[in-house]
């Protein structure tokens, strides 16, 4: 498998570390209720299909969002977190 680092380009899977669903970027506010926090940390849509994930490109230290299909392993696109935040 290969992924595209927004900074370094197309690279082998070995250079990347997976973190999980990109919803980790949507961290609740401090004032959010406990249920929102539990949901944020534990519960996942976990689709068999397209999902957005966080990956870390170790060699350059960049985090990125990959929009990827969990059934075919096709990556539709990758974004830097700055791009993803927009």
């Amino acid at each position: 498998m290969r992924l595209t680092c927004p900074h370094c380009g197309d690279r082998d899977l070995r250079e990347f570390t997976y973190k999980g669903d990109a919803l980790a970027l949507l961290r609740p506010d401090e004032t959010a209720n406990p249920q929102e926090w539990v949901d944020y940390v534990h519960n996942r849509d976990n689709p068999a299909g397209t999902t957005s994930e966080l990956w870390y490109h170790g060699p350059c230290g960049s985090w990125l969002v990959a929009v990827r299909d969990t059934t075919t392993h096709v990556t539709h696109r990758t974004l830097s977190l700055a791009e993803a935040g927009k």
């Binding site: 498998m1 996942r44 976990n46 689709p47 068999a48 969990t70 059934t71 075919t72």
Partner: protein, 426 residues
């Protein structure tokens, strides 16, 4: 409690095999029926894998509930029960897990007699190797917890390991073997036979096993489950159990639930057949590598999950190579063994690496999921406990820790790996 068989059954025995040999194998009966789904059942179990089939079996055997259908979208035992590394062990250390896996191992030990089916449960002994003082201390805690639970464990020093596993690299290893935790009652079983044995046992007791029947919806009225929609029509039921590890999120979504589960791929490997060379189940403490030799002679081994979310039932080269590398590092004598086949299963990874067997907020709907990559050994006790929960509405004492709300309350988390709530790290 044991209830009489409902349908006429055929007992297996050495004598029967002999007799059929003389008769040219003409007398064998179908091992299960292929019934058309009825319009209504007392209990529908979604998922004809190991856990679903054992749930059906124990519902009939322990509770006399036989108006039961198991709905399987593919073929029976086609999921993870048919694509694992076949290891059976009870070497957990956290309360909640300890009593459950201990119970499961006891059920395994009586399984052949119970099912009248040879699942080839082989208690050849399992050795977890450790490679530092810190790992030794952690395994010591594990071993003591196992004995606290009434199970068996022996702490081996380096020489003790050498006596059992003389073929390990004791001279030049990057991470030298310090010792091992020996679990003599650990071992393996023939994975397909477990599914088939439970299926046959359930069928004999009247359970309808319905293959090629995919559930497409779960019917809920006023907070109560009333049945399911399937590719073979609607089926009503008083109770429904979701026992679909690997697909839990998708099925639970039909009931409007969002689970603490992420699906990942775990690969496994088997080599060509070889004359006996590995007599135990061996697990490497530094390289995510575990291996045993099947009765057919193939080395069956595996490693860690591929670390990215996947439903594809296949993995990629980096983890394959990593597993082979670990094999070379630990026991370079297997170098000339050739890998014949590799495959992947979909793992229900939970936030603490432990499973869930619980009621849901929907009355009559039970959830069994989150087996990570430890589901095979759990098949008997999981079905036992799920059947108990479905039949009585109460958690079984051996599985009382597998509650869904533990992530909300923070009580009774069972994070054996200590890696925290990132699903893929368990």
């Amino acid at each position: 409690m044991q209830f009489a068989c409902k349908s006429a059954s055929m007992r297996y025995s050495g004598f029967k095999v002999f007799l059929e040999g003389l008769r040219g194998q003409s007398g064998w009966k179908p091992v299960w029926r292929d019934p058309e789904p009825k319009q209504e059942y007392d209990v529908i179990i979604i998922g004809g894998g190991g856990h679903g089939l054992s749930t059906a079996y124990y519902l009939a055997r322990n509770h006399g509930i036989t108006n039961v259908a198991v709905l399987e979208k593919g073929y029976l035992g086609g999921g993870n029960v048919g694509r694992n590394t076949t290891i059976v062990r009870a070497n957990y250390f956290l309360p909640g897990n300890s009593e459950f896996y201990s119970h499961s191992l006891k059920l395994w030990e009586g399984l052949e007699a119970d099912l009248n089916y040879n699942v080839m449960h082989s208690q050849r002994g399992l050795i977890n190797l450790f490679h530092s003082d810190g790992q030794r201390d952690a395994f010591a805690r594990r071993g003591n917890a196992m004995i606290n639970q009434g199970d068996d464990a022996i702490l081996l020093d380096r020489e003790g390991v050498r006596r059992h596993l003389p073929y390990l690299d004791f001279d030049n290893a990057r991470f030298p073997v310090y010792g091992g935790l020996f679990h003599p009652r650990g071992g393996t079983a023939r994975h397909d036979a477990v599914a088939w044995g439970y299926a046959r046992g359930a069928d004999q007791r009247g359970v309808d096993l319905i293959q090629q029947c995919e559930v497409t919806g779960i019917d809920i009225e006023n907070g109560r489950v009333t049945g399911v929609q399937t590719t073979r029509g609607a089926i009503r039921a008083k109770k429904v159990a979701m026992v679909v590890a690997g697909r839990s999120s998708e099925v639970a979504a039909m009931a409007g639930m969002r689970l603490p589960i992420e699906s990942h791929v775990l690969q496994a490997f088997v080599t060509e057949g070889l004359k006996p060379c590995i007599d135990h189940v061996v697990s490497f403490g530094m390289g995510h590598f575990y291996i045993s030799q099947s009765d057919k002679g193939g080395l069956v081994f595996g490693g860690d999950i591929d670390f990215y979310a996947s439903y594809a039932q296949r993995g990629n080269l980096p983890m394959k190579e990593h597993v082979m590398e670990a094999g070379m590092a630990l026991m370079p004598m297997i170098g000339q063994a050739r890998v014949l086949r590799s495959w992947g299963g979909i793992m229900d990874m939970s936030p603490d690496g432990s499973p869930i067997i619980d009621k849901t907020h929907i009355e009559g709907l039970t959830l069994n999921c989150g087996w990570c990559y430890g589901g095979f050994k759990a098949v008997p006790a999981s079905g036992f406990a799920t059947a108990h929960l479905v039949a009585t509405g109460e958690l079984h004492e051996t599985a009382a820790g597998f509650r869904l709300d533990r992530f909300e309350t923070g009580r009774g988390l069972m994070d054996e790996e200590g890696t925290g709530a990132q699903h893929n790290l368990h």
